[in-house]
């Protein structure tokens, strides 16, 4: 294959005495849907945060499309086409659902100045409406995002990650709290998006059914190290992974 869309080399991060991520390296190829699993506290979220500029890693290097992005700010990474969601609910509580979704796209339209003098919705109204309808949140369009149920907020969160038409999306537990039927839908959506746009996904999830059916390759992290890597079938039958994570 050609250059990987994301390459992580030797990322390490400690908090006080705790080695959360212990020199992790891996590559993600264009168009791949990669799963990232591992026990609680194994460093998955920390790894995401190091890759995406929310945390500064103690060591290591991250490249996106061959470009070194270590130390780059999250907003700049986002402008390079990297989207993400957070494990914790992360909407703008006192803004309407519609405004949440429009905001997620607006910084990719026009320049700073044109956004001051252009239209208030930055021309994203139709796109945002469609996105809201897709996640069956139409009736909540003008509701403040903070007063949505847990699952609804999770969906708004997911909707936001797609607004900017990213080429690489890192999702931290997108399935948590989402109704199974909507989740099946979300999965279809990811697959379709991936097929249509070639968008690459890296997904952290504890819902094995979701991960195993969605991802083509899975990396398993434990105590900050990669302990296994392979296809869903390989992972499912890997004894180390079963012991550390999947359980009997």
């Amino acid at each position: 294959m050609n250059t990987p869309i994301l390459s992580v080399r030797n990322i390490g991060k400690s908090f006080g005495g705790i080695r959360a991520v212990d020199g992790v390296s891996f590559e993600v190829h264009k168009g791949e849907i990669l799963g990232l699993i591992g026990p609680n506290g194994s460093g998955k979220s920390t790894l995401f945060n190091c890759i995406l500029g929310q945390l500064t890693p103690d060591a290591g290097e991250v490249t996106v499309n061959g470009k070194n992005v270590s130390g780059m700010r999250a907003s700049d990474l986002n402008k390079l086409g990297v989207g993400r969601t957070f494990q914790q609910l992360s909407v703008f509580p006192k803004m309407s659902v519609l405004d949440n979704v429009i905001l997620a796209g607006q910084e990719h339209h026009g320049t700073m100045l044109s956004r001051l003098f252009g239209p208030g919705d930055a021309g994203l109204m139709a796109e945002a409406e469609r996105m809201i309808a897709f996640f069956r949140l139409g009736h909540l369009r003008d509701t403040l995002a903070g007063s949505l149920s847990y699952g609804q907020q999770k969906l708004v969160d997911a909707a936001m990650a797609f607004m900017a038409g990213p080429s690489l999306v890192l999702l931290d537990e997108p399935a948590g709290g989402v109704n199974l039927t909507m989740l099946a839908n979300l999965k279809d959506r990811l697959v379709a998006y991936n097929a249509e746009h070639g968008t690459t996904f890296v997904v952290i999830e504890h819902n094995m059914e979701f991960v195993m059916s969605l991802c083509s390759r899975i990396i398993v992290l434990a105590e900050g190290n990669i302990i296994a890597e392979g296809t869903p079938d390989e992972i499912r039958s890997n004894q180390t992974v079963i012991d550390a994570y999947l359980g009997g």
């Binding site: 803004m95 607006q106 909540l140």
Partner: protein, 328 residues
């Protein structure tokens, strides 16, 4: 949607007409008070952007009034016209506002409040101690009011109209800002800066801009205070005045466009109304503010809606009920 915005436009036009006729036939003092209401509205509008929309606490708004006022004073005393001095003052405030925004990149909440508070006091000290430039505690006196050929603002009433025009213009610009994607970005910064950053919002730039624009409005208020009072001294821009502007924003309703108008009105006019109670008016005033915050903590701008809810209590049903159940 459009119906309510039509009503809003009507209300705005009505208020504008009211603002135009209000001072006619009034004594100088009333006009003076109305003028200061407009000027403080501008200052509060700026703080409302920084605090109400962008969520960055600033206790330094009065110091930007000071910077605007002193630059205007020094330049107009040197014979420059207000119209030339004003943009220079605004520019200075914009740049200094940017600088003040830098700490906000590192700290939030009450920490930020104190950095800005410190800034306010430092400005005060400089104004008072550097008397070769600022006249020290004696201040500067005798600044002319602007004269626009056919329209001279020397008299109280023309000066009021002049201020009204500037205020209207400033309000219009603010309206444009908060309705643009910038407004949404400011709010996103307030609500969840980490998420905003991950969505491509350059929170650094937006934070600095929130301070810079807010401060520029403070500066604009300052450039009007100078010709209004025709005397400035450091004490008029001390910390207490920043707190007063903050009070205006909160009492009016932080994050609401019309909040500052109401807030400045209450903070400036209420003491006037209470003046008859002699020595007790500050007591009554502060007690009223406390009561107001207990009963309408989100500001007076929300009072109308609350009263409406009391008179016509309206239970809303959940919106998805209309779509009907899928499991019958």
């Amino acid at each position: 949607m459009t119906k309510s915005s039509n009503i809003r436009i009507l209300i705005i036009l009505g208020l504008l007409v009211l603002a135009v006729v209000a001072p006619i036939g009034q004594k100088n003092y009333i006009i003076y008070v109305l003028t200061s209401w407009l000027i403080f509205t501008i200052a509060a509008m700026g703080l409302n952007l920084t605090l109400g929309y962008a969520g960055q606490i600033s206790l330094a708004q009065a110091s930007f009034m000071a910077i605007g006022a002193y630059i205007t004073a020094l330049l107009t005393l040197a014979g420059w016209h207000w119209i030339v001095a004003m943009p220079l003052a605004l520019f200075a405030c914009f740049v200094i506002g940017l600088l003040l925004g830098y700490p906000a990149l590192r700290v939030k909440g009450h920490f930020l409040a104190f950095v800005t508070l410190a800034f306010n006091t430092l400005v005060f000290l400089v104004l008072r101690n550097e008397d070769w430039l600022t006249g020290g505690s004696i201040g500067l006196v005798g600044m002319p009011r602007p004269d626009f050929g056919l329209f001279s603002t020397m008299k109280q009433l023309p000066f009021y109209y002049f201020t009204l025009a500037v205020t209207a213009f400033a309000a219009l610009a603010m309206w444009g800002i908060v309705r643009s994607p910038w407004g949404r970005a400011f709010k996103a910064l307030r609500e969840n800066p980490v998420r905003a950053e991950s969505l491509g919002v350059d929170t650094r730039r937006i934070t600095l801009l929130a301070f810079a624009i807010g401060s520029t409005y403070g500066g604009l208020a300052g450039t009007l205070i100078t010709p209004l009072v025709q005397f400035i001294e450091p004490g008029s821009f001390a910390l207490a005045h920043s707190l007063r502007i903050l009070l205006m924003v909160i009492v009016g309703g932080a994050g609401y466009f019309f909040g500052p108008w109401v807030g400045a009105g209450v903070v400036i006019l209420l003491p006037e109304v209470l003046r008859f109670t002699q020595g007790y008016y500050l007591i009554i005033y502060s007690a009223l503010v406390i009561v107001m915050l207990i009963f309408v903590p989100s500001g007076l701008i929300g009072v109308g809606a609350r009263i409406r809810d009391k008179i016509w209590p309206k239970q809303q049903v959940r919106a998805d009920l209309a779509e009907g159940a899928s499991l019958k």
